[in-house]
């Protein structure tokens, strides 16, 4: 710095620095501006509707926005969303955390590096391609396994699980590797087997980080649209079996927004769904963030 300052006139340096500093500051603040703008935009269109109809929306399972009179029950959509997310976690959490443990504790350096590349590649597959996989591959497969309809909640859940795996694996691995080496050495020195070390020492030590990975995975699942629209069968109903088709909040917005008359009730109701989704993912991310901070503090 001193050398540069000597070579240039001081006022020039100060001006450049001022401009660049301003630009960087603007970039930093822009995230907040965008979030606020999105919040205002979605809120403006849907909040009135949400407040007017919040009770009938939450108690009815009938989503018929184009019927006369229209019914805006979202219970089945909410259940459909939770159903898919919950089912997908049943697959992705055990598999994802197990791969994270393998990558961080058992894999050789070479295996780890190549596996991480593959996992990251998995994350790069666009969601519409995942939807395609649901329709073209899982659909007939599930029918062979005894499902009446191949496009169902299970199909959507598997697709979601595959989509969230990369996130779980890389965040989980980070969390495990962040555990100090001395913990491992101490456990081994105490005569613990490697399995005991992972299960009794590493898992509790990395608990918060692993929880963050799962929570961010949940957030990703809730917000996913295209893949679930294609794979879940898109039927408004409370599922009673894993083979039942379901419909999610996101898929409903995607399928219907194109037609809804701007400013009409149907349009507003879709924005109300958007507010709901926004709120849920916000809460999930917020909890994840808090958990992460707690981990850093401890």
């Amino acid at each position: 710095m001193a050398e540069i300052a000597r070579r240039r006139p001081p006022s020039y340096t100060r001006h450049v620095e001022f401009v660049i500093e301003g630009l960087i500051r603007l970039c930093g603040v822009s995230a907040i501006i965008f979030i606020l703008a999105i919040f205002v935009f979605i809120g403006k269109e849907g909040i009135g509707f949400l407040l007017r109809n919040v009770l009938p929306m939450l108690v009815s399972i009938d989503w018929s926005p184009t019927a006369e009179p229209p019914v805006y029950g979202i219970l089945a959509l909410v259940v459909g969303t939770l159903w898919c997310v919950g089912l997908s976690l049943c697959f992705s959490v055990p598999v994802g955390l197990a791969s994270a443990v393998y990558l961080s504790e058992f894999a050789s350096d070479r295996a780890r590096e190549s596996l991480k590349v593959v996992v990251e590649l998995l994350a790069a597959i666009p969601s519409v391609v995942w939807g395609f996989i649901g329709v073209m591959i899982l659909n007939p497969l599930l029918q062979k396994l005894g499902a009446q309809v191949g496009l169902n909640g299970l199909n959507g859940a598997i697709v979601l699980a595959l989509m969230t795996l990369p996130l779980l694996v890389s965040l989980g691995e980070d969390a495990l590797r962040a555990v100090p080496e001395s913990y491992r050495q101490a456990a081994i020195a105490m005569g613990a087997t490697r399995w005991e070390m992972v299960w009794r020492v590493l898992m509790p030590a990395a608990q918060r980080g692993l929880l963050v990975a799962v929570l961010l995975g949940v957030g990703r699942c809730i917000g996913e649209t295209m893949a679930v629209l294609m794979a879940t069968g898109h039927a408004v109903r409370i599922p009673t079996s894993i083979y039942d088709p379901v419909r999610t909040l996101t898929a409903t917005i995607a399928a219907e927004l194109g037609e809804a008359v701007r400013g009409g009730e149907h349009y507003q109701s879709l924005f109300a769904l958007g507010i709901l989704l926004f709120a849920v993912t916000f809460v999930v991310n917020f909890i994840a963030d808090r958990t992460l901070r707690g981990r850093r503090a401890s």
């Binding site: 898109h234 039927a235 194109g258």
Partner: protein, 300 residues
């Protein structure tokens, strides 16, 4: 899920509105017409525009789907030259258009018969409106094939009916609802697909499924049912002459809406589409051409 089928990606901005309506434009420039709306009609207009390009190479029709509601919305907003709709405009939509200074004019471009599809292994050969109402209505009582007198095994001894339909911005959805369930009627939970071909694909691969859609579509795994009005009426096959004769109980007109009476390039395109020269194209797309004698068929 909007299906976008551009005939050509020629610069849409290259021509201004007077070009399309005034007609007397620079002859070397392509005239791009926008046609937006019904997913049922996407294939039809696409084929018409391809054939029309041979007659009038200067005119390019850019076809976009999205559903009849989407097309009508676009004509109200003034963002398309032609709105394709498989249902008539609702009064409130007309009022909305007039409010924006748009005067929608309706042209019937073809007729469509709505078919009921089931899986090819389904022993059912015919169906009537009452049965359809039992299956698809929210107050219908038919949840299993045995409820409508059909013996089926969809695996594991189960015979639950898998009901496949269209999403609620589709003209086909509206049309089916109105004619089977009544204007006040409501659908039971169906698997809502975003296109007729998707409905057929699900029905063709799902043994216990039943669905509805344009009669021009097909899938090797699915079959079209013979349709009767009431339980005691004779059933009518969903084929062209039955639609034209007015015997098929489930046929409808397909409309093109324009702002004001069609003029310029739009009029030329529509005139050609309604001429005898286009009949073959319409039939190949799976629809029924308008009768040239001028007598409209009386449909369901």
């Amino acid at each position: 899920m909007t299906r976008v089928l551009f005939l050509s990606l020629l610069a849409t901005t290259a021509c201004s509105r007077p070009d399309k309506n005034g007609g007397e434009a620079d002859a070397s420039r392509p005239v791009v017409l926008q046609a937006k709306g019904s997913d049922t009609m996407v294939n039809l207009i696409q084929r018409l525009s391809e054939e029309y390009a041979k007659v009038s190479p200067r005119t390019v029709v850019a076809v976009t789907g999205g559903g009849s509601g989407t097309g009508i919305k676009a004509i109200i907003d003034g963002t398309t030259d032609m709105a394709a709709s498989s249902r008539a405009m609702k009064d409130e939509e007309k009022a909305q258009a007039e409010g924006k200074g748009i005067h929608p004019v309706e042209t019937t471009i073809a007729f469509d018969g709505l078919s009921i599809y089931v899986h090819k292994d389904n022993p059912m050969t015919q169906v009537d409106f009452d049965t359809l109402k039992l299956i698809f209505g929210s107050e219908g009582t038919a949840a299993h094939w045995k409820d409508v007198g059909v013996t089926m095994d969809c695996g594991n001894g189960d015979d639950a009916i898998v009901k496949v339909g269209r999403q609620n911005n589709s003209g086909t959805y509206e049309y089916f609802k109105e004619h089977v369930l009544g204007t006040e009627g409501k659908f039971t939970s169906t698997m809502d697909q975003s296109g007729t071909q998707q409905v057929l694909d699900v029905v063709g691969t799902t043994k216990c499924a039943i669905g509805y859609g344009g009669m021009g579509y097909s899938n090797p795994g699915a079959k079209h049912l013979c349709l009767a009005k009431g339980k005691t009426d004779a059933c009518v096959e969903p084929i062209e002459q039955n639609v034209l004769s007015g015997n098929y109980p489930f046929s409808r007109a397909l409309f093109i809406y324009t702002n004001g009476a069609p003029s310029g390039a739009v009029k030329e395109f529509l005139d050609w589409s309604l001429s005898a020269a286009a009949d073959k194209v319409v039939a190949e797309a799976g629809f029924v051409p308008t009768p040239k004698s001028g007598a409209a068929p009386a449909g369901g």
